[in-house]
Point group: C2
Chain length 365, copies 2
Amino acid sequence: MNLPQRVLLGPGPSDVPPRVLLAMAQPTIGHLDPVFLRMMDEIRQHLQKVFRTQNEMTLAISGTGSAGMETVLVNLIEPGESVLICVNGVFGGRMSDIAQRCGGKVQIVEAPWGQIIEPEHIIDAIRKHRPKVVAMVHAETSTGVCQPVDQIGAAAHEQGALLVVDCVTSLGGMAVEIDRWDVDAAYSGTQKCLSCPPGLSPVTLSSRAAEKLHSRKTKVQSWYLDLTMVRQYWGHERFYHHTAPINMLYALHEALALVLEEGLDKRFARHHEMHKLLRDGLGELGIGYVSPEGRTLPMLNAVKVPDDVDEAMVRRRLLDEYGIEIGGGLGAFKGKAWRIGLMGHSSSRRNVTLLLSALREIIGR
Amino acid sequence: MNLPQRVLLGPGPSDVPPRVLLAMAQPTIGHLDPVFLRMMDEIRQHLQKVFRTQNEMTLAISGTGSAGMETVLVNLIEPGESVLICVNGVFGGRMSDIAQRCGGKVQIVEAPWGQIIEPEHIIDAIRKHRPKVVAMVHAETSTGVCQPVDQIGAAAHEQGALLVVDCVTSLGGMAVEIDRWDVDAAYSGTQKCLSCPPGLSPVTLSSRAAEKLHSRKTKVQSWYLDLTMVRQYWGHERFYHHTAPINMLYALHEALALVLEEGLDKRFARHHEMHKLLRDGLGELGIGYVSPEGRTLPMLNAVKVPDDVDEAMVRRRLLDEYGIEIGGGLGAFKGKAWRIGLMGHSSSRRNVTLLLSALREIIGR
């Protein structure tokens, strides 16, 4: 195995700090070893801080971010229930697909790719459809758009609905305020702004969501992702459910420690500053964003490929000649956009400068 | 993080060789990086050799062994279909639970814990119930019993059923002959006889199973485990589905290389020899097996706790004083059995000798 060393500036994974890689390489111990169980408790406490929540049901699902998405939806939706999904990109669409597979009656409130969904449209749709679950994506990785979340919780609760928020790309890179925003369930991935390898999905459920889980009339259709059992392994019962991905959890433990050592607010400011630096530099190259200023994410920069530029050639040359990975467009943006990630450990002045210089050399401006 | 170094002689995980830990700690690269895609191809080829199959649909699911179990069942069972499950321990029971969550009409053929299910009973049940899927556990980790598999495929196919086999604990430690046994779908875990950390589940599907998958009338109820999509990421299409657990796949790649370097037959012989050594030594301590000789697994030794011995105290002292982990009993064997794993890298003369000596010191014989 002869692996190249990349600079990961795509939509994830981001570069993993050496301390996290080394933690992951520590000898495996048992998943019921008292030392490992203590580590799980610490991971929960760290995750509560990063999610800014007091939720007791805060844990890491043994799968990647999409497994977190499926976990939340499959546990909170019962067949036949009405579900409202906000769709303005790939990941809202994925939520809708999963909700349908759960037997949910899905209503969609949507906006064009690159735009936010106006909060009043969502609130109107909640009042009209009176769903049991409202689901939205905070940071849409396919478009780089930041969706405002803070007003939706109150509107959902007024109608007896639970609010689910996808924080896969935002967690650890910008403010995610689970308790202050009154979010009932959220999930993330480890390979974005937490800068841990992919393989785990942090999940948190409010007591309101936990209540819904306990009052279900039907079994959760997934055994692997059934939180009524998974929580008993993470909780004080320590019931065996499945074997946790032990070394991945070493890595997450270390990655979260690094996030908290830096401090959340300082980390968010760094992401914001690097985003501005990149935006200014791209502007000088004549490269603009697919979404309006003020709506763009700091950690995922979806930008328009200039008309006279071969987008795939640029990505290939960045990878082959500079060892830099950036992402192409998905769905409606395929062939038309690049997605430049400045996530976690990857979000540095050195990387912004390197990428801008390499782009300038390749595009020839 | 201050982790102890254990000797892992429980029901999994097993000790991970340093080469595998180091492979896992290599810098993360993108999940669509050409170098990574080549590695995925090699993993598939390695897995085909270890499963002894030509099945094109051979890959690693992004979750632990139970996710592999759910993957196979959720993809091959459509709601309302008749399913026959062989149950003589925890993992057969788990299959039955999952099959019901898939909407399967489950029939059970069972045997007491510690016994095999007689193949003729299974064949009779197949002819009686004419199920669409027959599922069985090759190596029952809760009882240490080895279930004969080789006659069942023909009987299942005669009735138009698919044969599913759980090889979580057997793969890499004893003969698993997917093609010769005419098995349609099998899954395993990485943390048993492959001696890789937990977090992935090798899965293989025959062309007959792939046909069933493509002729489904309903969508697979799990999005995350939907093989119609997962296979397009592992196949030449390379469609993005979810972000693979990249560093875990580095580890699996290296673990499989180690298995193939040793050679399967040599590896199986080593497991068999260490099992005999342990059995003889335990016999001298007056400790017998929960299952009849000739039915015991080489890699998972489920033995009776002597009447005058406090089983939990012994396990605690092994861990605290010697750093050795063995497993307790599950279900019907809780408090009555120990489960001693000699899996993969853990299956060595040094470990057998150490464990027997430590047990002798603790029990005082």
